[in-house]
């Protein structure tokens, strides 16, 4: 049967077809849909773990029990999970373990564009890279087969373009699940104390040698010889871009990007006159092929940064610097993503901005508040970093920083990797104010469950962590819970907690306006009274999508140059603008 599937849906399907029934992940674009889709298949166990490190550890445990286990994360999630990943490479996995790394060239939804192929080489773990949805489905099966055969974790790398593009996929009959679970005692292999790890370290190199022989005959490393003048070595999505614009060149398409098939590459090089290595981001293949003594053209002409498209490849090879242009020459107003109407974060950041503090931000929808006019936060590095950074800045600035340093973090992000930093804030007695933006869900990636939601990925009711009790147990004594849409209460809570010595935490609690499970009924849309509006633009400071300002609507006896309007079809009636208006013009 043929169906239209995204790369992510295909990875989930492929895992199911391979007989995989166990998976764990933390959501992150562009990987999120893999577990959401996988969790819908019959007889599977799939969980959102609190973070990627936990997800990998959970799947290692399942694999040691004999299961075929799947761990899924976005590229930066692999950083979080790197600790267990590097050492499970030593122990091997008993059952099977595949780790999906969804990279994001062009940083469509990420804070960096690291090339995770480097992890394969660094951790000595083989890595497959599919070029479209059909291959994604087949490669995840191959990844499990390789994992079983070589007793190794295997990486499957996808990129945003593979994950979120759709293609026609042929489904096949799923393999029947066989329960192979049981205890396998082998402390020398699984207890990584130095004496055992030294032995396993040698096993890793033996496995590397075996894999290097295997890749020479691995059928997804494919040579297509047509025009011998030009040969292209590539992998993943760039293969499609190159085939599109240069259908008649010769190709060596690598289905496995680590380790490389040296003999096959030499064979290919002997058949073509000139070789281009086409790869996004790092010269990962190029440097290894050059180290083999083979002359290739790569990053001299292709960009190091951002994702490719067919035009970039064509223009680079043809040395064409012009490319297609738009006949429209005027500048177009950009359309940046924005906090939604009714978003609770808007209220918090509007109040916070009035305090003239330095705000360390974190990863979530609220990061969008850094833009004008809210300008709600001033730094953002990675998941969970805000609390540690706020503490560090506060300590470094001593008296100068007192009452002026804030860290903000979402509920899902706090549970992902903020708890230990908050423990540090209490332990080392920080003056920083930490605000937890508790919207009851993982909003940015599309409302995924987490330990604070009371539900699991599979839709079952679950133990719901009590944030206040948790924070108190970490040693924080000053804890306030507020509703960020109540401006007066929010402002006074922030002021009070900033003034206190020692650590304080404010929990700004209100569910995401889009969160269906919270079942919030939007209130009636608000209206601007054109007789009362003075055109002061204060409401525009909220950057709320329904609010606009029209020039030229003047009023007798007033200096106003225009007035505000509210688009009733977009307004969710949250009432923030009503609180912000000094003239009582909004109701």
């Amino acid at each position: 049967m043929k169906v239209l599937m995204s790369g992510n849906e295909a990875i989930a399907r492929g895992a199911y077809e391979a007989g995989v029934r166990f998976a764990a992940a933390y959501p992150g674009t562009p990987s999120t849909e893999i577990l959401e889709e996988f969790s819908k298949y019959d007889g599977v166990y799939a969980e959102w773990s609190p973070n990627e490190k936990v997800a990998v550890e959970v799947t290692i445990g399942a694999a040691l029990a004999g299961e075929k286990a799947l761990a899924v994360m976005k590229h930066v999630g692999v950083n979080v999970a790197a600790d267990p990943i590097f050492t499970v490479s030593y122990t091997g996995i008993n059952g099977a373990l595949v780790i999906v790394s969804a990279d994001d060239p062009s940083l469509h939804s990420s804070q960096n564009e690291q090339d995770n192929r480097n992890y394969a080489r660094f951790a000595k773990i083989p890595m497959l890279e599919p070029a479209d949805a059909q291959e994604a489905k087949e490669y995840i099966k191959l990844a499990f087969a390789i994992s079983e055969k070589f007793d190794t974790p295997v990486f499957l790398r996808s990129t945003t373009r593979v994950a979120h593009s759709k293609a026609v996929v042929t489904l096949t009959e799923p393999e029947k699940y066989k329960d192979k679970t049981g205890f396998t005692y082998n402390a020398e292999k699984y207890v990584m104390v130095p004496v055992n790890a030294r032995t396993q370290r040698v096993e890793v190199e033996k496995r590397q040698q075996a894999l290097k022989e295997f890749v020479e005959i691995f059928p997804e490393n494919k040579m297509e010889i047509s025009n011998p003048d030009v040969g292209i070595i590539t992998a993943g999505m760039p293969y499609n871009y190159a085939k599109e614009v240069f259908p008649n060149y010769s190709y060596l398409k690598l289905g496995m990007v680590y380790p490389l098939p040296e003999k096959l590459i030499r064979n290919f090089a002997s058949k073509v006159k000139k070789i281009y290595v086409i790869e996004e981001l790092d010269p990962f293949l190029e440097e290894q092929i050059k180290a083999m003594g083979i002359k290739v053209i790569g990053k001299e002409i292709f960009p190091y940064t951002l994702e490719f498209d067919p035009g970039i490849i064509k223009n680079a090879i043809e040395r064409n610097t012009e490319g297609a242009v738009s006949p429209y020459k005027k500048s177009l107003s950009p359309r940046p993503p924005n906090l939604c109407p009714g978003c609770p974060h808007r209220g918090l950041f509007y109040a916070l901005r009035k305090q003239k503090v330095y705000v360390h931000g974190d990863i979530g929808c609220y990061t969008l508040s850094y833009m004008k006019p809210l300008e709600g936060l001033h730094s953002c590095i990675c998941m969970g970093a805000s609390i540690g950074m706020a503490h560090g800045m506060s300590k470094a600035m001593k008296e100068k920083g007192k009452g002026k340093v804030v860290g903000v973090i979402g509920d899902s992000t706090f549970l992902h990797s903020g708890i230990t930093s908050l423990l540090n804030v209490a332990y080392n007695n920080s003056d920083a104010l930490i605000i937890i933006l508790d919207n009851s869900t993982t909003a940015m990636t599309g409302m995924q469950e987490h330990p604070g939601t009371g539900y699991t990925l599979m839709g079952k009711e679950a133990k719901k962590v009590n944030l206040k009790v948790l924070i108190s147990a970490l040693g924080i004594e000053n804890i306030k819970v507020i509703d960020p849409l109540d401006q007066k209460a929010t402002r006074s809570a922030i002021k009070e907690e900033l003034a206190k010595d020692g650590p304080s935490v404010i929990i700004a609690q209100r569910p995401c306006a889009l969160f269906k499970r919270a079942n919030i009924k939007p209130k009636p849309a608000l209206k601007v009274d054109p007789d009362k509006c003075e055109g002061c633009k204060a409401c525009l400071g909220l950057n709320c999508p329904p609010i606009s300002w029209k020039k030229g609507v003047t009023k007798e006896g007033s200096k106003r140059k225009g007035i505000s309007f509210i688009d009733e079809t977009l307004c969710n009636g949250c009432g923030l603008c009503e609180q912000v208006c000094k003239f009582g013009a909004i109701s």
């Binding site: 043929k2 293609a167 026609v168 085939k243 297609a324 738009s326 993503p337 924005n338 940015m444 606009s548």
Partner: protein
């Protein structure tokens, strides 16, 4: 390449307009017609009121889900000014379908930037075929403003060589039963627009 001409459609608009659903329906129809098809889109940030685009590419065999700049034959713009944002992707003889609805970006809302004027006449001057109408008005007539995306699909179907029976089937399978009739009506309004 004559035996394998790959055609490209670009759908563009603003988050929340049903662009990704519309491109899914186009792909399903192409697949039903027996052709290869790939599409590309970006999720995540785009859903918060930002720009959304989707490339759809079809033919006997398709490699890239992304079209080369200067190669796209059809643009379906779900919002008026968004039609101007991606013109470098279009061929000079491209056909353009534009929803004349205006959704202001933040800078226009604040009165800091103008909303482009004369978009339609500019497009008509530079491109072979421009079909413009207010899809939201048709959608309202069909009974649900959210079907504006399907109205635009109806208009686009006039430019594609796919049997009406295939479109009807795909639309029937794409919506819950109670919404099928409204969407079929919206589709027909797009055909007649």
């Amino acid at each position: 390449m004559v035996d394998n001409e790959v055609k490209s459609i670009l759908l563009a608009g603003v988050g929340g307009q049903g662009i990704l659903r519309a491109s899914d329906i186009i792909c399903e129809a192409i697949m039903e017609a027996g052709l290869d098809v790939k599409k590309s889109e970006v999720h995540g940030m785009a859903q918060r009121g930002g720009c959304v685009t989707s490339h759809v590419r079809y033919g006997r065999k398709v490699y890239s889900p992304l079209a080369e700049p200067g190669s796209i034959q059809t643009l379906i713009s779900f919002e008026k000014m968004e039609a101007l944002r991606y013109l470098k992707f279009l061929r000079k003889d491209a056909a353009i379908i534009v929803n004349t609805e205006e959704i202001y970006p933040p800078a226009v809302n604040m009165g800091d930037a103008p909303y482009p004027e004369d978009t339609i006449s500019f497009l008509k001057k530079h491109y072979g075929k421009v079909i413009s109408f207010n899809a939201a008005e048709f959608a309202q007539k069909a009974g649900n403003i959210k079907t504006a995306n399907v109205v635009l699909l109806g208009a686009a179907s006039n430019l594609m060589d796919i049997d009406q029976s295939i479109w009807q089937n795909v639309i029937k399978n794409s919506f819950p039963e109670k919404l099928v009739k409204i969407n079929l009506d919206a589709f027909q309004m797009g055909i007649d627009a």
